[in-house]
Amino acid sequence: MEKKGKIRVAMVGNPNVGKTALLNAITGGRFEIGNFPGTTVEKKEGTAVINNTAVYFIDLPGIYSLHAYTIDEKIARDYLVNERPDIILNVINAANLERNLYLTLQLCELGIPMVIALNMMDEAKKMGLEINSRKLEEILGVPVVETVAIEKIGIDSLKEKLFHAKVSRIKVKDVDIRSRIKTASEIASKVVTKKEIVKTWDDILDEVFTDKYFGIPIFLAFMWIVFRFTYDVAAPLVTLIDIGFSELSSAVLNSGLPFSDLIANGIITGIGSVLVFIPNISFLFIALAILELSGYMTRAVFILNKIMLKFGLTGRSVIPLIIGFGCNVPAVMATRGIEDDKVRLTTIIINPFMSCSARLPIYVLFAGAFFAGYASLVIMFLYLFGVCVALTSALLIRKTVLPGEASFILEIPPYRIPKIKSILDLTWIRVKHFLVKAGSIILAMSVVVWYITTYPGGSIETSYAAMLGKIVQPLFSPLGWKWELVFALITGFIAKEVVVETLGIILGDLSKLSTLATVPQALGFLVFSLLYIPCLATLAVIRSETGSWKWTAFAVVYGFSVAYVLSFILINILGLLI
């Protein structure tokens, strides 16, 4: 919705040049920042009052050009061409001026007043680059301001210059790709001077992190550290919350208040069984935020790129897959940056196999109950198993229904020491999503599950839940699961956290969980929970991103079949061994 009477400023730039950090610095907002190309996949908006004028900022997804090869580029181009903002704020990575200028030249051709933020000046200086911003201003004929968005350097000056935005006077001889590349190169050579080449910390770290032999072992070592941090270090907080909810539930039950059974055994037990895992989820997000903001995650993408190509994907698929460890919904949306439609579709279909944070409570619960002492190992196995199934599925899909070649160019951002505020902001944005779900879907489901596990008979065994569970249970009898587990899986279709919530309500005390299955059946259940039907929200976004019911149905049927077959095999093999 456009706000009339305001100045509209479109922020445009290459991926990972700090547009969102700049938006936050100008507007005081708290949008998600990454050191990761593709953090912004949709328009973000923020408003600031500058010189008593309301200025409305639109942060467009990072793009390399206005050619509209990818969905990101199409969103940005459509906005600039159709909506015609009052000002373009072109954010440029000073450490990579020549490449960024290609887009700048295209923006100049639009004839819209423009200001350039020469961002990441600190990175450029570290690389021994000296940039004559005055000369750049003269050549392009638009104001150029040096900034370090993350440190809020140059922000006041930038706000001031927005009121002096000009239409560029530069003319590119021929409006084609080669001509623009040549012009960009000529401009860069005039304004950039490089001091004596020294080996930077980035070079030193990259030599090892992207080493042909050491890259993957180091990645696995970091992943193990992440999982121990998530499970072992968060344990006392989990215990505290667990005790808190148990005490609260008992107090309400003994209070004699109206609906005390619904509140204690339904709402408190249901929500509590999910919220108890908030420390695990928060710690996982803290660890991932550190890896992401430091720039290491992109190196992980780089070393995994070769493997990805073997499975018919590209390194660009890695970014949505890693985002999938948090939540599959933004992960599916993040595939918009993939140019090749077939690769994009494949990445969407396999994304639900990446273990989202909603599945972590199921893992922590079952691993603690059935695999005490090896819980971290089991959880790491599940995450890696999900990745293996995703890659194998990608290969299968690319060899059969979506054949074709894949290629990819990856931009490597500089290393940065993550700031505590950035880590906490990023973690909060992601955890908030989980909390909102707890206060909406999970709260509603706790009432529904309580009702159908209590009525009509008053006991679990004669409840609607038992009836439904027992009707569906024969389908799962080859896997040996009792109706309680089957019913939990059915409710888990709404949201995966609801599996744990349902078991909490059915059992009353989750320590009774070990009575429901044997060790092989428990591991089979974990694998099934990892792979089966995507949750409702993910299915909705798969439908909207693919624009096809056929592919949405494929994601459901394929996921369920793979989950069923692999769980069956695992349970039977382990049954022979144990």
Partner: protein, 108 residues
């Protein structure tokens, strides 16, 4: 050469840890291998990354010990101290403190 001595120490630690936690052992083995590579190829970058990984792992180990202690306190159980061998990673702080020796990517 102190780097080589530390590489051997991490190798031994990895071996002892294997029977308790194969994945902890794996992390220690990666650190040892990076130290060896740094020593034999005389490339400081490997020493720096090995030291970073070792210190991060040592911090994790310390947090795990503190978390175990806190958990026993909350549950009112007796705390059973279990030595986590990853703690030797703090030794690597000496390399990070003297990182100027490796800053050009070579062992000076």
């Amino acid at each position: 050469m102190i780097e080589l001595a530390v590489a051997v120490l991490f190798t031994l630690t990895s071996f002892f840890e294997f029977f308790r936690s194969p994945m902890d052992s794996f992390v220690l083995a990666v650190i040892a291998a990076l130290y060896f590579k740094g020593c034999f190829s005389r490339r400081g970058s490997y020493i720096i990354v090995a030291s970073l990984l070792a210190v991060v792992f040592a911090i994790l180990t310390t947090l795990v010990i503190i978390a175990n202690y806190a958990n026993s306190l909350i549950l009112g159980e007796e705390f059973k101290f279990k030595l986590e061998l990853g703690i030797i990673g703090y030794l690597s702080l000496i390399f990070l403190k003297n990182r100027h020796r490796y800053v050009q990517g070579k062992i000076v």
